[in-house]
């Protein structure tokens, strides 16, 4: 243990911090500032914002608590941490809500000024937890965050209300001190953000510094922590959230395919940000169209695809339900569109700000008639970038709608991302239609793909629509055998995508006792759990689906190499249904539908249980 400025410095490998406060307390901002700074230091990290469905629930109540959980490490990590080591609680409600989840002996920094009778009442505390026994076993550090912020800012000329709103910067500064992080990145951000309001720059920086110095001088903290940089591959990095990565991925796909990007969309939590990010990219020739509803969103997308654009639409569960009829139109017209579905808690409005994986079967089967589409899923925030490109590639190459599934967890969560070099990104080849005289709208190549002649191109005039059509000519056809044939062709066309997607990889031994099979956003939790279990000597491997329809060609072979297959899903077993149906393979399900990502510890427990506790 080093010593520094009279305080001990303890080296840690892994820390999980939770910033929690009222919705109005700016916890999301605090958390993301801490993340950015931490990322710049070279730690691996992973975040989980968690905010109420209400915009500003009445101050001080439990359902008004907004939290930002952040896991950082000197190792490779994949989850926001199962339970926080440190909780910053800006008020009693924040404490009450997060207490059950803390690690034993966790450090709890509370803004003691908020623990007034009123505050306690709002949080439904009978007595003050700081004063009674209820926090026994934790390291409680009460700090006068509000008062000290007031003192620090009293000369700024800010109103008391504005001063109160700066207390998150005090807390942030304190945490920077505690974890040995520099103030500069945040100061730089404050300068940019409030460029036109010097008073606010001044105030926020004062609060930040006050917090930092308070840590340095106060007697409350005896130890300071250091988390070294992780050994990450060399390269340029940035922090990225899933929604941001999704947006960027489609802009990249547009540049890689040389097709202008069109997004028809309608706001819905937690997908709105994709529309928001993309509407900034006007100089990339991106057209965003905020439609009147989800149906107009997807239908305008189909209209743009008809006209030759890389056309996409973004939504979440209830919105996908509304789009299903139109996706069928894209299936039968064989137009390339991508539907991004950021899954949230259902059914119906459900838990709009929470995560879930329960739209897989809707994506697979939620359309009238036999209407196969390709389905892919991103497994982490940064993977959204790549899967956006992959989804675009499949759509454009195979002339098919593609559904890209992400979820609230990876959409809002963020992680450091090694930015690829331009040269690492493969061009998306969009085949040209044959010469006008050879062209027919439903001609097919060896992969059963029809040629795409963008509306408006001279010489390729043709008509398409939602009625069944004769193969090759595309004329409306009520012929029974043609219908059977077309149904088969549309199915096989999607199956043939298998030839162009990577095989399923196994993390761990290639065969053995137990294979954990996941898909989408559970990648991080499963990976951490499997790694931990393997460190303890348990024989467990992991395979993760990013391509779900079609599945990679080696899927059955991989699954059959293991005695047991465990499928953890944040639903009631939807991938399990697909696997059972396809391979008649009994799988063991693990399903918790709590609106939250899995804890890696619960998965680890389940694996160990399935291995009969045997780690030899």
């Amino acid at each position: 243990m080093e010593e520094e400025n009279g305080k001990e410095v303890e080296q840690l490998q892994d820390v999980t911090v939770m910033f929690a406060g009222d919705s109005g307390d700016g916890m999301q901002l605090t958390g993301s500032q801490f993340s950015n700074t931490t990322a710049l230091l070279g730690n691996d990290l992973n975040t989980l914002p968690d905010y109420p469905a209400e915009i500003r629930a009445p101050a001080g109540t439990i359902y008004g608590v907004s939290g930002f959980q952040l896991h950082f490490s000197s190792k490779d990590i994949h989850t926001p941490g199962d339970s926080p080591d440190v909780l910053v609680a800006m008020n009693p409600a924040a404490l009450k809500k997060n207490l059950p989840n803390l690690k034993p002996h966790a450090m709890i920094i509370v803004n003691i000024d908020a623990f007034t009778q009123k505050g306690l009442n709002l949080a439904k505390y009978e007595s003050n937890p700081i004063e009674d026994d209820s926090l026994k076993g934790f390291r409680v550090i009460p700090v006068h965050i509000s008062k000290m912020t007031e003192t620090a800012l009293k000369d700024t000329g800010l109103s008391p209300k504005d001063i109160a709103r700066s207390k998150n910067f005090f807390a942030l500064g304190m945490m920077y001190w505690l974890f040995n992080r520099p103030l500069e990145p945040t100061m730089k951000w404050v300068n940019q953000k409030f460029g036109k309001k010097p008073v606010l720059i001044d105030a926020n920086i004062k609060a930040l510094k006050a917090g930092y110095y308070f840590g340095d001088t106060a007697e409350l903290f005896t130890t300071r922590y250091k988390v070294n940089a992780a050994k990450l591959p060399a390269g340029k990095y940035r922090n990225i959230s899933g929604n941001e990565a999704t947006a960027m991925g489609f802009v990249a796909a547009s540049l890689l395919s040389d097709r202008e990007l069109f997004l028809g969309s309608y706001p819905i939590t937690p997908a709105s940000e994709i529309l928001q990010y993309l509407s900034k990219y006007r100089n990339y020739n991106v057209s965003t169209f905020q439609a009147e509803d989800e149906i107009a969103g997807v239908v305008s997308t189909i209209g743009a695809a008809f006209a030759g654009k890389l056309a996409i639409t973004s939504t979440s569960g209830p919105g996908l339900a509304l789009k299903t009829e139109a996706v069928g139109l894209a299936v039968i017209t064989e137009l390339p569109i991508v539907v991004i579905n950021v899954q949230r808690g259902g059914p119906s409005t459900g838990l709009p700000t929470k995560t879930e994986q329960a739209d897989l079967l809707q994506a697979m089967y939620g359309r009238n008639g036999e209407a196969p589409v390709a389905v892919v899923a991103a497994s982490s925030p940064s993977d959204c970038f790549y899967m956006a490109i992959e989804a675009s590639r499949i759509a454009l190459k195979h002339m098919t709608p593609v559904i890209l599934l992400t979820d609230g967890y990876i959409a809002n969560g963020s992680e450091p991302w090694r930015i690829p070099e331009v040269s690492e990104l493969k061009k998306i080849e969009v085949p040209n239609p044959p010469a006008p005289e050879d062209y027919q709208p439903y001609l097919r190549d060896e992969n059963l793909v029809r040629p795409w002649a963008a509306a408006g191109t001279p010489g390729y005039e043709h008509r398409i629509g939602g009625l069944e059509k004769a193969n090759i000519t595309g004329d409306v056809s009520y012929d029974p055998d043609n219908h059977d044939e077309m149904i088969r062709i549309r199915e096989e066309k999607v199956e043939k995508i298998q030839k162009f997607i990577p095989e399923l990889e196994v993390d761990g031994d290639d065969e053995g006792e137990l294979l954990v099979v996941g898909w989408g956003g559970t990648y991080g939790s499963i990976t951490d759990a499997v790694h931990k279990a393997r460190e303890k000597g348990y024989k467990v491997s992991h395979a993760h689906f990013r391509y779900i329809n079609p599945m990679p060609k080696n899927t059955e072979e991989v699954l059959r190499r293991f005695k047991k297959v465990l499928v953890p899903e944040i639903n009631k077993g939807q991938l399990a249904i697909l696997i059972r149906n396809k391979f008649l393979l009994p799988v063991i399900q693990y399903n918790r539908v709590r609106g939250l990502p899995f804890k890696s510890s619960e998965l680890e427990d389940k694996m160990i249980e399935l291995l009969g506790g045997k780690n030899d």
Binding site: A296, I302, G303, A304, T457
Partner: protein, 344 residues
């Protein structure tokens, strides 16, 4: 459309706009006349085949695109305006024409309709209004009159109908017109005007469904009554009608009244003059509601025609401005955005 596609090309004839497919409407259906006037108009405008994009929903009327040799998209029920919105935003230089029915546009598609009008999407909306569901065999539609007996209203419909012109005006549509399947010349005139309009052009066409609602517009447009029951609007002209144009419309407050100029009580100077370009849309609204009054002739022609920036123009302008300001995006630029750090 880019001009070079027009260089050295022969102007097309109406029949060049036929796709050659057998037309499958019932013999006598009003849709035939609309199709033929569109083909004439397209030829007259000088379109090449690849220029106009023709989009529809579902219904008898929505089979329209199949019969034209242009690009065509037969969509799903009610969604034609949304489909057309995506297409016009993708192809700002191509005229986008939409063929739709009273069920398609006014019932299931009502929302897309009013939003397209509001946003001033650059599309032409041809409403084939036969006041009935044709394709599904005779249920009442949102433009069917109250009390109408149809398959789903065996004791008479209890719905008040929409006034499509009124709804379009209520949604701030920039071009609003009406024409009649029986009046080929008038139809062509209106189609031509619509083709010249930038922004949403809404045209209600009284269209006869011989099978399920035959004669629905006889009261207005049949030869023997049309002089007295149809008011042909002409910009800048007094609103006259009657065989000898001996009748006119005057305004009593906001209330339009039909008067006979031969009575000696009124002269042509009392008759109101039509102004398509009236910004307020009030006159158009008054004219729209003349159809509610059986004592007044039904106006046909252009109710309103004003120029406002279209949605697509605004989008292109924004793309241009932002690109000028920030530079044209490239992959390199994209990958160097954000807060970046380096690991060695």
């Amino acid at each position: 459309m880019t001009d070079n596609t027009k260089i050295n090309v022969e102007p097309l004839k109406p029949k060049d706009f036929s796709s050659g497919l057998d037309v499958r409407w019932c013999p006598g259906c009003g849709d035939y006349s609309i199709l033929s006037q569109i083909q004439k108009t397209f030829a007259k405008i000088g379109y090449q085949k690849h220029e106009p994009i023709v989009i529809s929903g579902i219904g008898c009327s929505s089979r329209f695109p199949y019969y034209l040799s242009t690009y065509g998209f037969h969509g799903i029920h009610g969604r034609a305006p949304a489909l057309a919105s995506g297409t016009t935003l993708a192809l700002p230089d191509h005229p986008v024409w939409v063929a739709t029915g009273d069920g398609d546009l006014m019932s299931i598609g009502g929302n897309h309709f009013i939003h397209a009008c509001r946003k001033n999407m650059d599309i032409k909306l041809l409403l084939f209004n036969n006041r009935i569901y044709g394709l599904t065999k005779g249920q009442y539609s949102p433009t069917s009159e109250k009390g109408k007996i149809t398959k789903t209203s065996p004791y008479g419909s209890i719905d008040y109908p929409f006034n499509p012109i009124s709804l379009a005006l209520g949604s701030n549509a920039t071009f609003v017109a009406r024409t009649v399947d029986r009046e080929p010349k008038h139809m062509q005139q209106i189609f031509e005007k619509a083709s010249e309009h930038k922004g949403t052009a809404f045209i209600e066409i009284f269209q006869n469904c011989v099978i399920f609602n035959d004669g629905a517009f006889d009261d207005v447009s049949k030869k023997d009554v049309k002089d007295d029951h149809m008011l042909v609007l002409e910009d800048g002209q007094p609103m006259l009608f009657g065989k000898e144009k001996e009748k006119g419309i005057i305004l009593d407050g906001f209330e339009p009244k039909a008067v006979n100029l031969n009575d000696g009580k009124y002269t042509i100077d009392d008759v109101i003059v039509h102004h398509e370009k009236d910004e307020s849309g009030i006159l158009a609204f008054i004219l729209a509601h003349m159809t509610d009054n059986p004592n007044l002739p039904t106006p046909v022609g252009v109710f309103r025609s004003i120029r406002k920036q279209t949605y697509g123009e605004a989008l292109q302008e924004q793309i241009k401005n932002v690109t000028e300001e920030k530079g044209k995006g490239t992959l390199e630029m994209l990958l160097s955005e954000g807060n970046i750090w380096e690991v060695n």
